[in-house]
């Protein structure tokens, strides 16, 4: 366990080494938040409802999705694909280290830094914009929301392993990641709450794993879901985790059989 803590710590140190790069990344995150925030604040005048959302609920959703995405979507595990296509994976296969554990620890370090910066940015944004923020008082909903975030982190990490596994068979690890990022931006509920979509589309999205990355945890926090819906959502998340675990196990084993350590 100690070695994984060290990996996570090294990740935070690495981020501080490339401070300008990280600061620019955070600036990009804030810019995207501001675009979405202002769009929605112009769409819903205070005192009016929009798709069942009041202004404060919608703006809390947008700020909440920004917060949750720094937990769930911040990652370094895209480096796995590069390891495979450059043959660097070989270095890990001979070490007394779990390769996935290593990358998960790196992710934790990255998430930690992103969360710290998100809290600072969030405070500044709230002080400047003074948004009508909805504060959840119910501890059980906060607990369920945190559980949903944890499941979201696992789902996203497993997706990242699957995307990296493409490197076993193709040099093109970035193109599928690009399309995945495009899909995540919309299907996870980063830009808008998914339940504003027409019902048939929303039902399909609910069955997909993407909505459990951001939409579901934020929705639970807002208290817009009944206990049954929350338990159903958490069950679907767990089901997706098991499906993805099975797929990762299958693909990774097959990939390792085909792995030829090109580049080394």
């Amino acid at each position: 366990m100690k070695k994984y803590i060290l990996v996570a710590r090294n990740m935070t140190i690495e981020i501080f080494t490339y401070r300008l790069n990280f600061a620019m990344w955070r600036a990009r995150v804030v810019l995207n938040l501001l675009t979405t925030y202002f769009l929605w604040s112009s769409l819903i005048p205070s005192g009016r409802q929009f798709f069942g959302y009041s202004s404060s609920m919608m703006l809390t959703y947008i700020l909440g999705s920004y917060f949750v995405s720094s937990f769930v979507l911040s990652t370094r595990s895209f480096g796995m694909g590069q390891d495979i296509i450059q043959g660097d994976l070989s270095n890990f296969l001979i070490r007394p280290l779990n390769y996935f554990g290593y990358w998960f620890a790196k992710d934790i370090g990255d998430k930690l830094m992103n969360i710290i910066f998100t809290i600072c940015e969030f405070t500044i944004i709230v002080l400047i914009l003074k948004p009508p923020f909805f504060l959840q008082q119910d501890p059980s909903l906060i607990f369920f929301s945190i559980t949903a975030i944890f499941f979201g982190i696992l789902i996203y990490f497993l997706f990242n392993i699957l995307l990296a596994s493409i490197g076993f068979w193709s040099q093109e690890v970035w193109a599928p990641r690009f399309i995945f990022a495009v899909l995540i931006n919309f299907l996870a509920g980063n830009l808008f709450p998914l339940d504003i979509l027409p019902k048939p589309i929303f039902v399909v999205f609910q069955a997909l794993p993407f909505s459990y990355l951001i939409y579901f945890p934020v929705k639970v926090y807002l208290g817009k879901l009944g206990q049954q819906s929350i338990l159903l959502g958490l069950s679907i998340s767990i089901t997706w985790i098991f499906i993805l675990l099975f797929l990762v196990n299958f693909v990774w084993r097959k990939g390792l059989r085909d792995y030829a350590a090109y580049g080394k």
């Binding site: 620019m24 990009r28 810019l31 501001l34 202002f38 112009s42 093109e172 399309i179 931006n185 504003i196």
Partner: protein, 261 residues
């Protein structure tokens, strides 16, 4: 002279296209990703505006026109100035030396060293969207179209100036990628009419980082709601930014140390 530069550009673009199509799988996926992004955003706009009837006073076709203009303006510099995205590696490896010793403007080589042909398809889609949405907007005149084209050309001037400044920054700090992405994120604030933003953000993205001038002004000109003062100011900003960026480029060249060559 212009003929020589065009020939070089053409040769570099052919090479760049060959590289892009070397991996057809990757090219197709990237292209698909860009199409999906446009389609999903359109779906979002349609869903929202079908409920609100308007965004910041603009109806659905006008909002789509703004969005199509954004796509055009976002994609043309990517098509023409893709080499800037690769510039960092030339600086840190010292390969930029080779640009400097050739009988060709190094700035031209940095800016136009190979167009990204994949983006030409996205431009066609953006143009199609522009034509389709504008055909549903009443009152568009030939003058409006002419002003739109002039302002789009001015936007390309501004985009060029920003790319020159980013390249110059790359020589001094070796930091290009993040600056480019910040520029892209700032311009993406123009996906919607800038009226949705409140001050000071609205002022900032109209005049300080001229997203408003780049994207909203051309769209407003075709809709006939851009004032003459704003029209003239747009060209002034374009000219001033280009001159400043060229000064910055010259300064950056004087700082180049060829460290890694």
């Amino acid at each position: 002279m212009a003929n020589k530069y065009f020939k070089v550009w053409w040769l570099l673009t052919i090479k760049s296209a060959q590289t892009a199509f070397e991996s057809r799988f990757g090219s197709i996926i990237f292209f698909l990703g860009k199409i999906i992004r446009i389609v999903l955003m359109l779906v979002f706009i349609i869903v929202v505006v079908s409920k609100t009837k308007q965004i910041a006073g603009y109806n659905i076709w006008q909002v789509i026109f703004f969005y199509a203009t954004f796509n055009l303006i976002d994609t043309i510099p990517q098509l023409l100035m893709r080499e800037v995205y690769r510039f960092r590696s030339y600086v840190i490896t010292g390969d930029f030396d080779y640009f400097l010793i050739k009988p060709l403007s190094p700035l031209f080589r940095v800016m136009f060293g190979g167009a990204d042909v994949l983006d030409s398809f996205v431009i066609l889609i953006a143009i199609g969207l522009l034509i389709f949405s504008s055909s549903n907007i009443p009152g568009i005149t030939a003058t409006g179209v002419l002003l739109y084209i002039l302002l789009i050309l001015n936007t390309m001037l501004i985009a060029g100036a920003i790319h020159i400044a980013i390249s110059a920054l790359g020589i001094i700090t070796t930091e290009v990628d993040s600056a480019l992405w910040i520029y892209r994120d700032l311009t993406s604030m123009g996906r919607f009419p800038v009226e949705i933003y409140r001050d000071p953000v609205s002022f900032f993205i109209t005049y300080v980082v001229p997203v408003g001038i780049m994207i909203s002004f051309p769209a407003k000109a075709i809709l006939g709601i851009l004032s003459t003062t704003s029209f003239i100011a747009a060209f002034l900003v374009g000219g001033v930014l280009l001159v400043l960026s060229l000064y910055f480029w010259r300064y950056a060249l004087s700082q180049y140390s060829s460290a890694s060559s």
